[in-house]
């Protein structure tokens, strides 16, 4: 630029260090421990699926942006990469790569770009793809390879559900489940959901970097814990314990990484709490009484659709608002 010409712009003239790219980068970093665990559990296959999923998502976004929306490339903001990793984390490690590609097209193409790209999608793109695949390819999506150290190929949640349906008492079911091993990653499941500990390490990172606030994850997990505790205390013979619920399936992955997706979550802290409690309730309803063993993805998608309504009616606390009775 011509150094003689002064730049004129409205205030403020400085900007915080925060930008979309940095925040998405932080999410990717936060997902690394979980990726590591899944590689340890499932071998290189896990890495291949993740890398392929990321590549597909980025490619699809680039293609649509360039040839269909005819806009400037948006892959630099890394959001497509985050969607790619999250999608992979929702898949079994031994899934056919062709299905991954389909998932990527659904996630980015249908879940995100049809609405106009980043910031305009009402639903979490990775979850749109997951649910689509769960319905379209139920067998491929629920057949998990044996993780190193895990007992069987079925997820603990699915196992428990089947067993309870068959009338096996909870005590016996619990015996077959090693909670410590489960939380470390020695269980079967989607790639990303196997290690609660690794996911929580990422959560701490996100909190430290102020990428997300604690409200959504804590309220989702808290609600789930509360409902399962009530059920469990009322009838421990019939229902699984709250710790089992929190450590199994996509509870942590969903609460920390999927429900907190900026675009599809509410704008205010109060709204976030309502949204998160809703997710927790719906998840537990599906887990306890629904047909599917896991309800996290459905719960998040359902609450995603409520977000505009929440944003309309839940407003932030305003400075100097004249409160009733004061």
């Amino acid at each position: 630029m011509d150094s003689q010409k002064l730049v004129i712009s409205p205030a403020p003239h400085v900007h915080g260090s925060n930008d979309t790219r940095r925040m998405m980068g932080d999410v990717l970093i936060a997902l690394l421990p979980a990726l590591l665990v899944s590689v340890l559990a499932y071998g290189l296959q896990a890495l291949v699926v993740t890398a392929f999923s990321v590549a597909c998502c980025v490619l699809v976004e680039w293609f649509i942006q360039k040839f269909m929306l005819k806009g400037a490339s948006t892959i630099g903001d890394l959001s497509a990469m985050v969607t790619g990793v999250l999608l992979a984390f929702n898949l079994p490690a031994n899934i056919h790569l062709g299905l991954v590609a389909i998932g990527a097209v659904v996630a980015i193409g249908i879940g995100k770009m049809t609405f106009g790209g980043l910031g305009k999608n009402p639903f979490n793109p990775a979850l749109v793809a997951r649910v689509f695949m769960l319905v379209a390819f139920p067998v491929a999506m629920t057949t998990f390879p044996e993780a190193a150290g895990a007992v069987t190929g079925a997820t603990p949640l699915a196992m428990a559900k089947e067993a309870l349906k068959a009338g096996v008492p909870v005590g016996e079911v619990m015996e077959s489940v090693d909670l410590v091993a489960m939380s470390l990653g020695m269980k079967s499941g989607s790639m990303g959901e196997i290690s609660v500990v690794a996911l929580l390490i990422g959560f701490v990172w996100l909190l430290c970097r102020r990428v997300i606030s604690w409200h959504i994850p804590v309220c989702v997990l808290g609600t789930m814990a509360l409902i399962s505790s009530v059920a469990w205390l009322a009838s421990p013979e019939e229902f699984m314990s709250p710790i089992f619920h929190l450590c199994s399936g996509g509870a942590v992955l969903g609460a920390v990484y999927m429900a907190t997706d900026y675009v599809s979550s509410p704008m205010t802290k109060k709204g976030m709490v309502i949204y998160a409690v809703g997710i927790g309730v719906i998840t537990m309803l599906i887990r306890i009484w629904g047909a599917y063993p896991e309800g996290m993805s459905f719960a998040i998608l359902i609450m995603n659709s409520v977000v505009p309504l929440i944003d309309k009616y839940v407003r932030p606390r305003r400075f100097g608002a004249v409160r009733n009775g004061k």
Binding site: M1, L6, I8, S9
Partner: protein, 288 residues
């Protein structure tokens, strides 16, 4: 068989019930409305541009139907023809207005008007103009961020990337006036649409003194008044160092165009002048 009957009964009954409900609601909440409003609305162009001063075509139709004297109402988009049709239908006297067209009164292109700073805020003339005087030495001229083009519902305005100025497509322009309202500098004016698209106007709104204006922009009106003196029809007034051609008096003789020392008076749509004159004019413009 039995289940079939039950199904038919339930579905049919439900349908009948809902139909009845709909009927009752429609009856109860029926709003008495002059049916002519619908008819008039159909005659209007339906652009909902607000050029008439109403919120949309519906509001305009209501006004047309309810008022006895509609001479003050005019749809710039539909023009005379449309108004005649509406007036004929309503049996009222048609308002008459000459067809108009938007004219951008600034020729401060990048060449004519050097930039001496750089605006880096939201891409909006309104934001820039509320912040400061502008990128050039001329605080009156076009900012070039295209608020007018954004507001034009008809795609008649676009910013020319070379000159940085908006250009009006006379064919598409309906003279709805949205651009006039959108321009924070008041540069755009609705002028009479002459036959064959002929136009003569002062393409400048700078009210600074001649020397200041000229320093800021090569084609600024310096308010010298030569045009006013030469005009045989008294159509030109110079006020605040700025000439203005009254389109209702202008007879398009083009004498002022030749006389203007800075080339601030612009003519459009005329056949080329005789060679000698043309040369003199163009060399004059290049030299300035």
């Amino acid at each position: 068989m039995e289940s079939l009957v039950t199904t038919v009964l339930i579905v049919g009954g439900l349908g009948a019930l809902l139909a009845l409900l709909l009927f009752l609601v429609a009856k109860k909440f029926y709003v008495e409305e002059d049916p002519r409003i619908d008819e008039v609305e159909k005659m209007l162009p339906g652009a909902n541009c607000g050029g008439c001063g109403f919120a949309g075509c519906r509001a305009m139709s209501e006004a047309l139907v309810s008022k006895d004297d509609i001479s003050a109402l005019f749809c710039p988009v539909g023009g005379d023809e449309c108004m005649k049709k509406v007036a004929g239908y309503l049996g009222k006297a048609a308002p008459e207005k000459e067809p108009m067209v938007a004219v951008v009164r600034c020729a401060g292109s990048c060449d004519n008007r050097p930039r001496n700073n750089r605006f880096d805020g939201a891409k909006s003339c309104l934001v820039a103009s509320s912040l400061y005087a502008g990128e050039t030495g001329c605080p009156f001229g076009c900012i070039g961020l295209g608020d007018c083009a954004v507001k034009c519902e008809f795609g008649a305005l676009s910013i020319n990337p070379v000159t940085g100025l908006p250009e009006v497509d006379d064919e598409k322009c309906t003279a709805c006036g949205a651009c006039v309202k959108a321009c924070p500098k008041g540069i755009i004016e609705l002028r009479k649409k002459a036959k064959r698209g002929l136009k003569i106007y002062v393409s400048c709104v700078n009210k600074d003194k001649g020397a200041v204006a000229r320093k800021a922009c090569k084609v600024a009106c310096i308010g010298c008044g030569k045009c006013a003196k030469v005009c045989p029809h008294d159509a030109i007034v110079v006020e605040n160092n700025l000439a203005y051609i009254d389109y209702s008096k202008c007879k398009m003789c083009r004498k002022c165009v030749v006389e203007c020392p800075t080339g601030a008076i612009v003519e459009c749509g005329f056949p080329p002048r005789k060679v000698a004159e043309n040369d003199a004019n163009s060399s004059n413009k290049v030299a300035e």
